[in-house]
Structure formats: structure tokens, C-alpha cells
Amino acid sequence: MAFLQLQALCKRYGPIDAVVATDLSVEQGEFVSLLGPSGCGKTTTLQMIAGFVDVSAGRILLDGRDITHAKPASRGLGVVFQSYALFPHMTVRDNVAFGLKMRKVSAADIERRVSRVLELVRLTPHAERYPRELSGGQRQRVALARALVIEPPVLLLDEPLSNLDANLREEMQFEIRRIQREVGITTLMVTHDQAEALSISDRVVVMQAGRITQIDEPYHLYEHPRTRFISGFVGKANLLRGDRDASGAAQVRHQPGDGELVLSLRPEKIDLVPAGTGRLQGRVVMRYFLGSQWLYRIETPIGEITVVRRNDGDAPMNEGFAVGLDWPSDLLRVLSVDEVPA
């Protein structure tokens, strides 16, 4: 049986269903992300697990124990908040020691465990500072240390990186993953940032309008998005109309008009070939420089298509340039129609 289990978990606010019949199993030591646009119910789900929001129906099991209606204090989970929620009137050391003091751990043990966890998050030199004297990234580390020091069975992260600027966010992503690996703690992270979810999770849970729409490993999720919404939300995608050929394989319809299938084709999977060759002819409308890549928007008879090419040092194509498009047909993904409104 899984370490953390949600069974048909529901949350209703009056007539509004915030979370609908959610089932999820998280294994011990696993890093799982809840990914979705704002208002999809991911934070509500996390808060139900933490015990801050009452459960309308369903059960939450932690290591076989039913904690559905337990008080937050008795669940013993580590929670890191979007705002960090540090205690402004306490030093870093006192913030981190708080959970241990509540557990009546002896002073010597507190000292030892706080020092060890401050070392883990690389904050030892800042132990005597107040939160207001720290940078955003350092506050984030304090919040992590404070949650980890009580050695909780599960770590819950609520949008932990959304208050950091872009460079720091990437650094902290890797840092969170490093710490999670080192401690081996079961972790559930809520995020609306697909790049964040893909880069550090073992599995990603996509939520939409209160429901889970796909659970997969990051690579598989990216390569095989189940629905139209997911293909657009996780990475970039070209949505094309298509049908099946004689052998039953999906193919793009080259004439405008409705095909029976919706297909997804990732921009980096498309090859640009000399005009007149390839599966489709087009003309470059716009190009954008992304540093390591060029992004082209190409006008074709079946609509505008986005293509991403590696910046290999050669001169890029100019706008207005005629070009052919080609792709391996086994990289076309057939999408199911979205069963929930976006």
C-alpha cells in the first residue's frame, strides 16, 4: 500500500466543487508535483492534506493511518508556504527550533538537530539573523529547514518558488531536489509552473477544474500528453487536424478542413528542409531568438506552425524565407477531447 493515499477526496465550497473525487497514491521517498492553472484545486488538495481545510468527502491515509479529520498539529507534516510564513520576531535558529520545542525535545537535542539541518540548507552563518535580514532565497531555505527539522513523514510545498526571481528560482529548484534526495523524504509540491514540475519531480499530477487529468513521469507526460489542454499547458505544442491512414496510423491532413483527430506535434520535433521537399511547405513569418534556440513561426496551408531549432551557430533563416517542413510520423500524438472545460 502506498505511503500517502488520497481516496475519492472532495472539497465543496457551497455550490462550487473545488476538488472532485481525487485519487492519488504517493510512494515513500517519491517527489510528486501537483501541476495546474490557478483555481484548479491543487492548493486546496494540499491544504486538505495539511489539515488547514476541512475535507467534504473521501479519505486521506498516511502510512495506513486515517488522518482525514486529524488536527494539523497531530499530523506532524512539514509544510512550506508560498509566503514562507516565517515567524518575523524570531531568529533563524528559533524559527527552525520551534517545531522541536513544541515536541518538548531536550535543549541539547534541539541544538544538535537545528545545527545539522541548517548545515543541510547551507544557512549556518545566518543562524542568528532575523527573517527581515535575509534574501528571498535564504528565507526559502529557512522555511525548508523549519519543516524538515521535525523529520516529518511527508513534506508539503505550496508554490515554494513563485516569489523568487527567475535565476534564483532555477537554483532553488535544484537545491530542493538535492535536499529531498539527501533526506529521502516523501514530497508533494504544488506548482503552476510546468518547467518546475517537469525538472524536479518523479511524477507529475496534472489537475484541471478540480480533477486529475493525467499522472505520469515528467518525460512521458511531455511526450504523451493525454488531452489538448495538457499538450498546451505542459510545453509548447502545434495542434493539427488529422485522420488515420490505411494502416491505422495517425497522419496530418494536408488540406484545410476538419480532420477527425486532434494531433499534437512538439515544435522541436519538426525538421526544416529545403523548399519543395518535406511533408509541408511554408514561409517564415516571424523569428524569435531564445539564446540556445531559434523559434520560428511558419505560415502553411494548414495554419501557422511553431518550430524550434537549436542555435548551432549558423545564420538563422530570415523572415519571408520559403521552407519545407518534415517530421517523423511516429512523433505525432493523438489527443483526446478535453473532458473538463479549460
Binding site: G51, P72, V79, S83, H89, F98, G99, M102
Partner: protein, 264 residues
Amino acid sequence: MSKNGPLALSFHALVVVFMLAPLVVVCLVAFTPENTLSLPWHGFSLRWFRAVFERADFIQSFYNSLILAVVAATLATLIAVPAALAITRYRFPGRDFLNGLFLSPIIIPHLVLGVAMLRLFALMGVNGSFVWLMFAHVVVITPYVLRLVIAASIGMDRSAEQAAESLGASRFTLFRLITLPMILPGVAGGWLLAFINSFDEVTLSIFVTSPSTQTLPVRMYVYATESIDPMMAAVSALVIALTAATMIILDRVYGLDRVLVGRH
């Protein structure tokens, strides 16, 4: 930070002068050797300060006011903190009514309240009682504490409480170690505001004090209606000096902006 232009600076200076001038004048008048309220052009004298300390009734009234203000402000704070937390955090029937009820003493003129309480206390047979005078003050100063604590409670990051809860804090520990320290600037500021409002309350107190419970402002008012001499200025100067000294000590010991603005 942008610098103030000469126009803004002179405007600020004028405002400061306008606010401070009466205080400076009253302090100067206190040192006059004359028998009338006049500036001490012809030498300084401490005769009016001596006169104050020879008036046992004034000394008694000062202690009355001090004890009254300390106890009433403390009681008002004890009522306002739980009320403010309830009003800002929970939706319950009668919430708006409670909020309005607590604020009403600010809206109703103190004169009206004074007459009403005089009648009520007469009916209850407690006219001139110090305890009931104190309750009357609690009623009129609670709104000030309530406003400040409500503002502090709304401005506070609630997730800090959730964090403490998830770390194992019981409800009482949570209040003592997290909530109270985080709203302390509002509580301390509210207490101080309530103290000041109680200490210089005249209108209501005139109706509900007896000669033995007379507060300093009432004593001064009654004295001033009979005779105007520089002793009034001396009393005022003493009150100003005491207030300034308290503020300076508070600032040195604890940091005023830490108490009132909340820089931890």
C-alpha cells in the same frame, strides 16, 4: 528617496510650528513670576510649580487619572484583542452588530454618554464610584484599541499561524508565541492611544466623577472656570514633561518604532 522641495519644506515647517507653538507658549508661561497668564519677560520663577505641589487635591487628581488610565487602557485591551481576532477571522451571526457596538462610543458625543451614564449610575446608586468611572472610560476607549488591533490582525500573515499549527503548537501556545507577538505593535499602539484618551477625557468625566474621584483634567477644568492664573500653565507643563519623558524612556528601552510600527 526623493528630496522635498523648498515649498514642501516650508509647508512642513509651518505645520510643525502650528502644532508646537501652543505647547511652547504654555511651557514658557508656567515660568512667569507674574500673577497673570503672561510670558516671562521679566525673569523666570518656579513659584507656580511650587504652588502646584502645595495643592494636595491636584496631586490626588493626578494619581486618580494615572491609575484610571492605566487600568482602563489595560481592561480595554483585554476586551479588544479577543474581539478584534473574532471579528477579523470568523464569520458568525451578529458579527457586524458586534463591530458596530464596539465602535458606537466613538460616534455618540461624550456629552450625551456622560448625561446617560450619570442617570444610569444614579439609578444603580453607584454615583461617584471609582470602579464605575473606570467602566465608563473603558467603554469610550475600547474602540481605539479595537481599531488598531483589527488593522494589525488583518495585516498579519495568517500562514505563519498555520505553519506553527503544523509544527505542533496548541491553540494557546499559538496565540502566546506567534499571534500576539505579531500583532503586538497594534496592541501596544492601541493601549497607548487608549491610555492617552482616558488620561485627558473631560466631557464624560465631569458627569461621573465625585470630589474624591476627580481626575486631573476635570480638576483643571473646574479650577480654570473659577480663576485663571499661571498655575494652570504649570500643571500643563508638568503633564507635557511627563509625557515626553515616558516617550523617551520607552524609545530608549524598547524602541518606539518597534512598538508602534512593528520593525522587529
